[in-house]
Amino acid sequence: SCNRAAPGAGDKPTVALVLKTLNHPFFVDMRRGAQEAADRLGINLQVQAAEREVDVDKQMQIVENLLQTGIKVLVITPSGSREIISALVKARDAGVPIVIVDTRLDAKAAADAGVHAQTFIGSDNYEGGRLAGEYTVTATGGKARVGILEGIPGHETGDSRLRGFRDAMAKAPGMTIAASQPANWERDQGFNVFQNMLQAHPDIDTVFAASDLMALGAVEAIAAAGKTGKIRVIGFDALDDAKQAIEAGTMAASVAQFPYEMGKIAVESAVKVLAGEKLPADIMVKLEMVTKKRR
């Protein structure tokens, strides 16, 4: 169960992986990738996460606490690109090298604080949103009425994805955004909100959800309205359930971010850091639209 003897015990070096949360399949997959790499490379992996994705303060606390246990490398997916920096300052002061995954640090704030990350591993949420937008434009022939399901209002990840998507929409004059409403990252909210959206805008023919959980909720709402196949659903994250839905034709596409890869590369990079290797500033993990014909 818990690897409680891990920190400091044995002679395997300990790498800490601090995630935003583990209440999301995205991060669960990332952990799997990281764990697999850690087992293969013979290091100790400490995985910790806040209960809620938006809770930067909790994440900072976790970093501070882990630093007490003498970790050798800190791998982190920041819950706040600026906020987390004061915790990273403590890591720097403790001489622990930092690897950033998934969400970039704010470059200026990091420079001001003198925090230097060994590398960034990830794919851009904005870029993913744009990709989804471009896919949508192409798939609909440049003419569609789109409904959007947003994440928790004010949340960085969701905001970037939406900005990317909207920017892509703006370039295609035939695309109209009929409605955009928050469904708080949740599957049942995705269901309810999209059901309501369809009520007000029965002519919506395309829906983009900032995460697959909400997209899958929308799929059920579409089924309940008897419109399966008539509305294109584009999600984000390419969760297993979403891939199955794409195979079954109830979803059109989802942006794959390959969290498993990210986790794997993150641990591999950490090991390289331990070995004193120099890493490139950015290690970009591919983004991909998962659609039926391409898989």
Partner: protein, 308 residues
Amino acid sequence: MLRARQFGTVIGLAVLCAVLWALTPHFLTVSNLLNIAQQTSINAIVAVGMTFVIISGGIDLSVGSIVALAGVALGAMLQTGYPLPVALAAALAAGTACGMLNGALVSVGGLPPFIATLGMMSAARGTALVFTEGRPISGFDDGFRVLATGSIGFVPAPVVVMILVYVVAHIVLTRTTFGRYVYAIGGNEEATRLSGVAVRFHKTLIYGTSGLISAVAAIVLTARLNSAQPIAGMMYELDAIAATVIGGTSLMGGQGTLAGTLVGALIMGVLRNGLNLLGVSSFLQQIVIGVVIVSAVLVDTMLKRHKE
């Protein structure tokens, strides 16, 4: 008094509906009203158990986590291939067991209900997560999904379940000794004990009931989402408490009605639906929700005062 209170909240609901009707043509359509009923059903069901607990002078923060745990139990059983009735029974048993444990901690252990159910909230969620390793369980066959997609006449199955739960619970609460002890314990626990009522036993049952009803909600939710998720049901406790309190049940215990709770749940459901229909921006929504909830109950309070 109770009636006056309910009456006031109904007016709040009516005003809300009237405003929405005036603002959007999409609101007052049969299909939209059925949508609302369906969307409200899960919160409304969970709020039934919450109403029992709150009338008895307690609180149950663990309902959302129990929804997740019971859902996961159901999903796992179905996926392993157990027949539907067995899986349903397992889910109900899991929910009831968690609830009874809450009840035992409160009544035998003497813990404040807030603490006992806060502990369960954390522990049950953790168990669901550990059990599934954080991943949803999905893909069930249609026999099960009828619980979400089916309907009797034009009434969708979740709404049918909700109505059944309300009718049964209402009869239990108003017609049986158990129901009356719920009020008595909440109104004056010591007096109830001195009257020879087995207070501990009944308190355990009350929390058990809440767990059982949460499991019913879990079944409907799992069918509706076609997926059992360990992170389902987050914040359900807040919604359920809100529906109960908006419906006129006092957090001090001893008074309240299920009819009020249903109206409370509907107010919240109608409000969310209306905001979606109107396309209110996501940031503004929260302000509007806050203002409307306060206003709805304020109307009610004013009316009550006026009557006195």
